[in-house]
Symmetry: C2
Subunit: 440 residues, 2 copies
């Protein structure tokens, strides 16, 4: 049998299975299994406050891989990894060499993170593949669940390491040299991860992808406020981050005259107040945050000699984002005197728009299962940002309570969790029986 | 022999020894021994940058006690301690029960401190006692070198624990409950210190003192600017410290609208800018410092939910100090919105003046050895602040290069170090031969 013939045969078989399933009304995922698996993963790295601490390349993330791989193998799916520590779980297609369709998100969490951010998109994708496999669907090309390495960037900064390395935005070599607060290199943590799964097949780093769909909680209040269950994500707002170092001079708090001081923390206060007013107050769409700050020597009776901070700036309009970024650097420079400020740009990710056809498919799927939906711009960054330049990409949002994420009490309603996964199933279904012309 | 007769006989012997020494022109300390001991102690906790990290009740401080006690015993002096971890080294007097004369300072340093702050006053006092002992002087009452526990307060905050507990300003029980950043209690560190010296005699905590003299580097630029070698310290400027906690709410840096944020670090920036302008800019004499600050959760993409800071406020005029302290609390309260700020006063030490007769004695001693001197107000706090209410007290300052202290490159000229110790010797000499009427 030739490859083409095999593909045709597989497609025919898939179409038959799909038609049978459609006829029986069973094109839906297993709601209980999906929820149980989410809660099972929430126990890995569970925090006393009901959240999750499962940081990138940690023992907890390795434990979550074991769970994912066990579930994959029991469903007849094929797990694999790559040099960047991304986890792939494939529903094998007829043509194993053709670019696969990917769906997923990330398994790592913030230190005090919740039970849904990231892991939801991975478990939903696994659930879709498990459902398709259980129905005997063999798609024309591989459909692959993916968990990208280190999306959060809370242990190894900045984040999105797996998707950026996959997309060629950053080099593997550069990523491997990043260290966490304990001085541990990504290289060593990554090698330890791979050592924990010695028989796992290794994919090449970066391969052609036919399409990418990521389900995620919104991390904002808009769906809840509009009483919509499905967000059709139109794009991701642009983001820039900066490291700022303010250098002053240390001195004795009781003896050094105020006029002679070069107090780095006083300079920070001036700079931050001005940035919050001008950058943070620019318009209703801007997001300006100084989330991390360190003071040296940080002693009660010593005038601070150095302040190090990280700035996170986001805006949906790339022209505005660029303008604010330039202005931010200027303000740091002019307001630091008599100290000195140096600004290092880190992330520089412009706004992007997702694939129009996939957005339509998400909206239609939501209607098909009777869920209210709306278009929405993602204010948070996601791995999908880095897949969008490579292939048609899209995201599905579901609400989270009070818009809260990156917090232990982050919560999504089980009904919404299930609805999002069913939309993902229906968006992926055409790829599972491509070329057959029928719709789910 | 009755106690009174013993005292008279001892005084006569001391007077004879003193007169003989004076006749031979040898009323001076051993300059090389003093410097060598300072440099020997600087090797205990030495930092790569030439400074010292010898924090309170640390292994390094215990090592410095071993050195001090070895030197004391080899000079026939008597070491002892008390329940607060103060170290005493006595030149025994004829009447062991009479209130002794104390001279000293502290052995602990800042984490990145220098080779003179504190340790100079202790080693200078030891050098004076060693000189007196070597000349066969037996004073009427004990003359005692003291090293007060934890003056700096960098490990266990706030500092001056030993002198405050000795003076009854704080209870030993309260001090023992203070914890360092690793959660170690003073109680446990103190018990470990005492366990390292099982045979050391224990004095009662707090006993009557006849007089107290403390030699110290200036920690400011005034002596250097005026080209004076000896500062006759008139008093210590008043000091207040405050702990401030600013409570906001955490949120996602990319999704939470600016208008809905309660950003604790943004509130800090506003508060600090206003405090620096109004409090720090009040007049030329005020010193206003925010030296320590912590941000929670301190993650790049999370709006800060809590900022904790320590404020250090000093002024020589007690009325102004009280006014600024009140105003500071008001400003924190009104500027924190939409966050909340709570202010806890810690240290509240008004300005004090030192004993006039001792100030005259210091000036006369400086003239006698041909060293230029000037009156000076101490901008930094010292243990002498807590002895002043108990007995006639005074301080001798020597210059430090560029006014720098609490820094690894803190430096004092050997000639100034020796001059200060010779002034201390001459100020203590009348106590070594009290009632005999002759002058050094």
């Amino acid at each position: 049998m030739s490859a083409a013939t095999a593909t045709e045969a597989a497609a025919a078989a898939a179409a038959a299975a799909a038609a049978a399933a459609e006829g029986q009304g069973i094109w839906r995922i297993d709601a209980d299994r999906l929820w149980d698996r989410l809660m099972a993963l929430a126990r890995i790295g569970a925090t006393p406050g009901g959240g999750v601490n499962r940081q990138a390349l940690s023992a907890e993330e390795i434990a979550s891989w074991h769970a994912m791989i066990d579930w994959a193998l029991s469903a007849g799916l094929e797990p694999s990894t790559d040099a960047a520590g991304n986890l792939f779980i494939a529903l094998p297609g007829a043509d194993r060499d053709a670019p696969p369709v990917l769906a997923g998100s990330h398994l790592d969490s913030q230190p005090g993170g919740g039970r849904f951010d990231g892991v939801y998109g991975v478990v939903a994708a696994l659930e879709v593949l498990t459902t398709l496999a259980a129905r005997g669907v063999r798609p024309p090309v591989d459909i692959v669940c993916v968990a990208w390495m280190n999306e959060e960037g809370s242990r190894f900064a900045p984040g999105m390491m797996g998707s950026e390395t996959f997309a060629g935005v950053r080099s593997l070599q550069a990523v491997r040299e990043v260290r966490d607060a304990d001085g541990i290199r990504v290289a060593d943590a990554l090698d330890a991860l791979h050592a924990a799964f010695p028989s796992l097949r290794r994919r090449p780093l970066g391969f052609p992808v036919a399409a990418y769909v990521e389900a995620h909680i919104e991390q904002g209040p808009l769906l809840e406020a509009q009483e919509r269950v499905i967000g059709v994500v139109t794009g991701i707002q642009g983001k820039k981050t900066f490291d700022v170092v303010i250098d002053g001079e240390r001195g004795h708090a009781g003896t050094l005259a105020m006029a002679d001081r070069r107090d780095a923390l006083a300079a920070f206060a001036r700079i931050a107040t001005a940035l919050h007013a001008e950058i943070g107050g620019h318009d209703d769409a801007v997001k300006f945050t100084i989330g991390r700050l360190q003071v040296e020597p940080n002693a009660p009776s010593v005038v601070p000699e150095r302040v190090t901070l990280r700035i996170d700036l986001r805006h949906p309009d790339n022209a505005v984002l660029d303008h604010l970024g330039t202005r931010l650097v200027e303000l740091c420079g002019t307001l630091a005197a008599p100290c000195q400020a140096s600004v290092t740009p880190l992330v520089d990710a412009p706004s992007n728009g997702f694939d129009a056809a996939l957005q339509r498919a998400i909206a239609e799927a939501a209607e098909r299962i009777g869920q209210p939906h709306m278009p929405i711009l993602s204010a948070a960054g996601h791995d999908a940002r880095h897949l969008a330049p490579l292939c048609p990409s899209a995201m599905i949002f579901i609400p989270c309570r009070d818009g809260v994420s990156h917090a232990e009490h982050e919560w999504a309603e089980p009904a919404h969790v299930v609805a999002g996964a069913n939309v993902l199933l229906r968006v992926l279904l055409p790829y599972a029986r491509a070329g057959l012309g029928d719709s789910p």
